[in-house]
Symmetry: C2
Subunit: 271 residues, 2 copies
DNA sequence: CCGGAAAACTCCTATATAGGACTTGACTAA
DNA sequence: TTAGTCAAGTCCTATATAGGAGTTTTCCGG
């Protein structure tokens, strides 16, 4: 079926481009990444075998294997002994997120999370997200949600996306977004899986609008947690702020096993 | 009540036993790790070259390189083109910690942290640390400290260590521990660098003793943050609980560049 | 049609080799 | 003495090859 992208000469270099990587295995993984990024190979697809790639790219097996290894490391592909190399689905890249999961204190059992969408709006409001998302028109989609964990515990989340790239989401109904994982949707429908995220945290009084929404007393303290997520080639895709009021739920930083509040935690897989 | 000091998976013949790794490169990195772990090669030492190792281990260059690569990945050694392979010093493994650093909100400038030791005590008190640290006598060293950031902002930290292994610390004076990084000391003087850490977080009212110590009003909320750190072969070395009161300081999760409150943040290196 | 063996395909480990690039230290010539 | 060159040591990239192990497909005998 599909063939590998040609390892063409270095001349086709755009102005925005980072200079062509010096090393051959870098050029190869660059080529493969481009093919995935542009949707030529989509999540779940099997890409050509080592042998074919080596032949088509005029490289040795070792070099191709090295290129593939680096794609595995950033969570773009998965390899399976005897089966092949596959473009990662939505769930795989989470392994590389330093995200969080919720458990009862002193327990390791995960708790399910469900998100209710309050509204979806286009906004030109400026804020920390503007500097990060870099939308050329400075128009952003804002989705506000409230999450309940076991029905007892609430948190409030605002997520911003650049309108330029994800404008279709602004035209979706609240009902269509209810309960879905934004991150999954971006990966599956927009070819924008979250590969990295920078995160910050602090303890502050919750803004009145937030404490009102989640039914906390005015002036309540809470954790204010931001997540700035990037996809292929460090392209910014979402900026999110989450307000977590006091609770007995433990937020566990989950190295190597990706959970975040956006996912019903109990459908996660262990590894 | 407490179990034997033995790591069950090592001595017994159970199915989980990591007896002899099947693959040659694993056996080699295992062997090299043992040499480092036992102090045969110490931090800063240069270990034999690829060629020598290959000859001594009766392996090919590629296999030795692969074994070394896995040691680089877990932060045990560093390699330098043209110079050699060196056992990592105290600072290197931090790269693999998903720890935190403090900045002013909206800023990326790091803030220095200084720890004042309150007391160092031997305790048989039980708590979450007991299950984690697995000291055969259930005797733990507890170090309590207060940190100030730029002199303005305080947090409180309790760190527990197994007495069996780190008993010498219990006999150190408060003055000798003041301002030093426990983590550095463990790495440099006890051959116990922190390689991994599991962390949890929640927002709760601070215990009265804590809010009293840091001069916060009674019933103040704050972040309660725990760090369970392990060294070579996942051996547990410290269990730490940190109480962070509300503040404008942002706690930044620092993937790939390790900072934690125990280190004066401004002497960190960027990469 | 079914079951099972064989073949084809794929990724994995391991070896051997050649040349390039960076660092260090010793040696030589001014 | 000093500056420059050279050689040795070390890690890095890349190639080629052999055999092993897991998975899927094909095909043949019943």
């Amino acid at each position: 079926m599909t063939t590998a992208p040609q390892l063409d000469d270095e001349g086709s270099e755009g102005p925005s481009a980072a200079a062509q990587p010096r090393m051959k295995h870098q050029r190869i993984s660059e080529q493969l990444l481009s093919a995935i990024e542009t949707g030529r190979w989509r999540p779940g697809d099997r890409i050509p075998s080592e042998d074919r790639l080596a032949a088509e790219m005029s490289a040795s097996l070792g070099t191709v294997r090295r290129a593939l290894r680096s794609l595995v490391e950033i969570g773009v592909v998965e390899r399976h002994h005897g089966r092949g190399t596959f473009v990662s689905g939505a769930r795989a890249p989470e392994r590389h997120l330093r995200h969080f999961r919720f458990t009862a204190e002193g327990d390791t059992h995960l708790l399910p999370v469900f998100f209710n969408v309050l509204d979806v709006e286009l906004t030109e409001e400026s804020g920390p997200w503007a500097g990060f998302l870099q939308d050329p028109m400075d128009r952003f989609i804002r989705i506000r949600r409230i999450a309940s964990i076991n029905g007892e515990f609430d948190l409030f989340s605002e997520i911003y996306l650049p309108e330029r790239r994800f404008g279709d989401i602004a035209r979706m109904s609240v009902a269509a977004l209810n309960g879905v994982s934004i991150r999954d949707m971006l990966a599956e429908r927009f070819n924008a899986p979250t590969l990295e995220a920078r995160q910050t945290m602090l303890c502050q009084t919750l803004p009145p609008r937030v404490s009102r929404l989640i039914g906390a007393p005015a002036g309540q303290f809470g954790i204010v947690w931001t997540v700035a997520a990037t996809s292929y080639r460090a392209a910014p895709i979402t900026w999110q702020r989450i307000f977590v009021p006091p609770s007995d739920r433990v937020i566990e930083i989950a190295p190597g096993s990706g959970f975040e509040p956006g996912f019903p935690a109990n459908r996660g897989r262990e590894e």
